[in-house]
Amino acid sequence: MKMKNILLLLVTFSILTSGNAQTEKGTVLIKNGTVLTITKGTLANSDILIKDGKISQVGKGLTVPEGTRVIDATGLFVMPGIIDAHSHIALDQINEGTNAITPEVYTGDVLNPFQVSIYRALAGGCSVSHALHGSANSIGGQSQTIKHRWGTYDADALKMEGAPRTIKFALGENPTGHGRRDGVQPQTRMGVEFVIRKAFSEAKEYSARWDAYNKAKVVKGFRGAPPAYSLRMQTLADILKGEIILHCHSYRADEIQMMLKVTKDFGIKRLVFQHTNEGFKVAPEIAAAGAMASVFADWWQYKLEVYFSTAYNAAILVRNGVLTSINSDSPDLIRHLYHEAAKTQKYGGLNDDEALSLITINPAKQLGVENRVGSIEVGKDGDIAIFRNHPLSIYAVPQYTLVDGLVRFDREKDPADMRIMVDPKQTDEVTTIYEIGHGYDFCMQDASLLFEAVTGENK
């Protein structure tokens, strides 16, 4: 084979493999459903046309050229794809717990498109999730908003193009427990505040050094070396510049207020509290600061800092004007966030739109992608979940989930075994008996492994 042909083959191959899913968009007409737009009311017997991955029309009696895929949604409920602002699916690692401060790491580097949990999230109507770093340290890693493009072999194709950068911080028991085990700061909530203030203060100095250098180097005749580059410090500096949305694992009211003060002092505006179990106690303060909250519907009791929780948390936050979402932090809950959202109707009487906003437009705002997803509006991404029965009913059953106009979950047609990569070491008999909830703490995954490796203990 001539060199030219080989080159051509290589180019073709690289286009086929790398370009594949990233550019794959669908065209489909969803006909005659009850459309829950979230932002523009509920439309009876209406159609949605998705063209090349984007919603191009919403209305009645829409027509399409022959050959276009049509989904008959008669008698079904059509809502925007569900968004989870706190998840750890599609990640090979969750915690870089080697230091109290690790903003230099990035979950986007460890995405795994083969985890079947991605498909199972789709089977619960969830099309977008926030692949968050864990909570072992006060300043954790940068995180990635992903689209559940199940079927791609390309980890990068999961990344939602253009989604803002995000980072995980953590307060309370997890980072202090970690500090205690390692014999370093932080071991108390006082220490957590100090670790964060110190990091930001140093990042300010770092920024100042670089600003001075950048200013000086353009002056003719400048002689001198640039300051040392640090990805750790640079990332913190980017937070201070407002380029990264800060997602902060938190439970207790006091630590939430501490973080509000710290971010105010350092001029950080984009702040989302994660878990926020005691957010209800400081809801006026969170609202006044313009911070947001992403919470569980009803989790409590698994540790001391969630002992004084209430399932009315989301409703209290909403009624006090805090932009709130319901998240999963679990490969199980991510499959039924519609049910988790419905719990706010039992606990606090939220109406349908308010409840559904908690898993659509609100998490979209918390991830900075509300111009792309979170409601059914012309111009937005064709991410859609179609249910038999209203999604807030216990009898809701997702039928189809679309991402970028492509049907990625089809209840009728999909086979039981949806794996796209089979572990050759795994036999068919291997079963795992999962426990519900924080019997296993996903936020601390890998951290315990690290602990075992360091101490030799196995607990």
Binding site: L304, K343, D428, T432, H438
Partner: protein, 436 residues
């Protein structure tokens, strides 16, 4: 004089406020004669009765149906068309044994030792556990609370979710728990190899057979000596009622291979009273479980499938598939990780969404667990003569938004409050708000 006036004024206001709050909701239960009128009765065993009345007296249901004579002096509660259900039974919880999960001092469910069936859950039930009212006001009136741990971690107990001592709460059933030798992994954290898993389960089976055989011998010796002179063997003594069929063996078993092994073991050892619990892969062995006529307490239903290649809804569909094969199925919540036993009706609801009939799912959280535990003469349905465990709600109890408005436990009308509702009352409109 002026000072005294304003003081007494303040006192009056304070008394008024105190009385106002106290009369709004007493934290105590209330007993007496109650007539719940104008209700749709979901009796479970006798169908649905429209415009029905239930009379509660002396802790029992004394009348249920239409054209009921209301006893003089009864407190009448007009249900305005709302529904009355029998109290739900969650037959697999840690209620009263766990206060805060992650703190050793906050948990009492796990004693040291592999073979300790003599450890009694009822001993350690804290009647004032925070989770009790949290669970109760959602309509779950009764629960199995169970120890966990090794092969034979202890004896579980059925409790009503009201009472000030474990004895007051005890609802008439105890069962010995057997964690059947398990070849499956336990959650994400279990990193054992297949070889290690296999060895561990084989070793556990040897241990199990050993203790079972000894207990058989002990039982014979005990009979031969009319209960005297055999010596102090607490483990064996705790197993004797199981050997004799006076007490159930609750076998926690999940993986298909383990279900097969458990079926075989039960048959070989001629275990007289068996309940399978968990049974997450029951759908794979449903026909054999039905054939063996072993009842099942399944759950959690809202859970991840055990295997990567299983259909995503395997756990949702599990109770319905077992029922279809003829298995007697009760549903438990299995939500001990979060203390969310209040979600029991949602586990039943998911089973319905994925194939079980509504009737079977309702039976699975009421009369079926009552039957399996041998207390169906006392609870599990709205019938005259049964203990007044019941609740009133404004719709289908499986539906998430349904509100429960009254709960009765053993005839006690319970206050509709828990720490979680109190926090709501206090913080919905916090005072002071933003000002100091």
């Amino acid at each position: 004089m002026k000072k005294t006036q304003s003081l007494s004024g303040a006192l009056t206001v304070a008394i008024f406020l105190f009385v106002g709050v106290a009369s709004a909701q007493s934290p105590k239960g209330k007993s007496g004669v109650f007539a719940l009128t104008n209700a749709t009765l979901e009796t479970v065993t006798k169908g649905t009765i429209a415009n029905g009345t239930v009379v509660i007296s002396g802790g029992k249901i004394t009348a249920a149906g239409t054209n009921i004579q209301i006893p003089a002096g009864a407190e009448v509660i007009n249900c305005n068309g709302m529904k009355i259900y029998p109290g739900m039974i969650d037959a697999g919880t840690k209620i009263g044994l766990v206060e805060v999960g992650s703190i050793p001092q906050g948990t009492d469910e796990r004693e040291s030792g592999e073979i300790i069936p003599q450890m009694k859950a009822l001993t350690a039930v804290n009647p004032n556990a925070t989770v009790i009212p949290v669970t109760r006001i959602s309509g779950v009136t009764t629960a199995i609370t169970m120890p966990e741990g090794g092969l034979l971690p202890g004896t579980a107990a059925l409790i009503n979710l009201h009472g000030y001592t474990p004895d007051q709460m005890f609802a008439g059933f105890e069962g010995v728990i057997l964690n059947f030798p398990n070849t499956g992994r336990r959650g994400f954290g279990d990193r054992r190899t297949e070889e290690e898993l296999k060895k561990a389960s084989e070793k556990a089976l040897v241990q199990l057979n050993d203790v079972w055989d000894k207990a058989m011998q002990y039982s014979k010796l005990d009979s031969a000596t009319a209960g005297k002179g055999v010596g102090y063997y607490p483990e064996l003594q705790a197993l004797v009622p199981v050997i004799r069929g006076e007490r159930a063996l609750m076998i926690e078993v999940n993986a298909q291979k383990d279900i097969q092994a458990a079926l075989k073991w039960v048959q070989e050892k001629k275990v007289k009273r068996v309940i399978f619990t968990g049974v997450s892969e029951g759908w794979r062995e449903a026909e054999n479980i039905a054939k063996a006529n072993i009842p099942v307490i399944a759950g959690p239903v809202i859970a991840i499938p055990n295997r990567d290649y299983d259909r995503y809804d395997a756990q949702y569909a599990n109770p319905g598939l077992m029922r279809k094969a003829g298995v007697r199925v009760a549903i438990r919540s299995g939500e001990e990780g979060n203390g969310n036993y209040r979600n029991l009706p949602y586990h039943a609801g998911f089973a319905v969404a994925y194939g079980m009939s509504k009737e079977d799912a309702l039976r699975a959280v009421t009369i079926v667990p009552a039957e399996i535990l041998g207390v169906s003469d006392q609870m599990g349905s709205i019938e005259v003569g049964k203990t007044a465990n019941l609740f009133v709600c404004d719709g289908d109890i499986f539906e998430t938004k349904t509100q429960v408005s009254h709960v009765f436990v053993a005839g006690w009308k319970m206050p509709m409050q828990s720490r979680q509702t109190l926090l709501y009352d206090e913080f919905l409109k916090r005072e002071p708000g933003l000002t100091k």
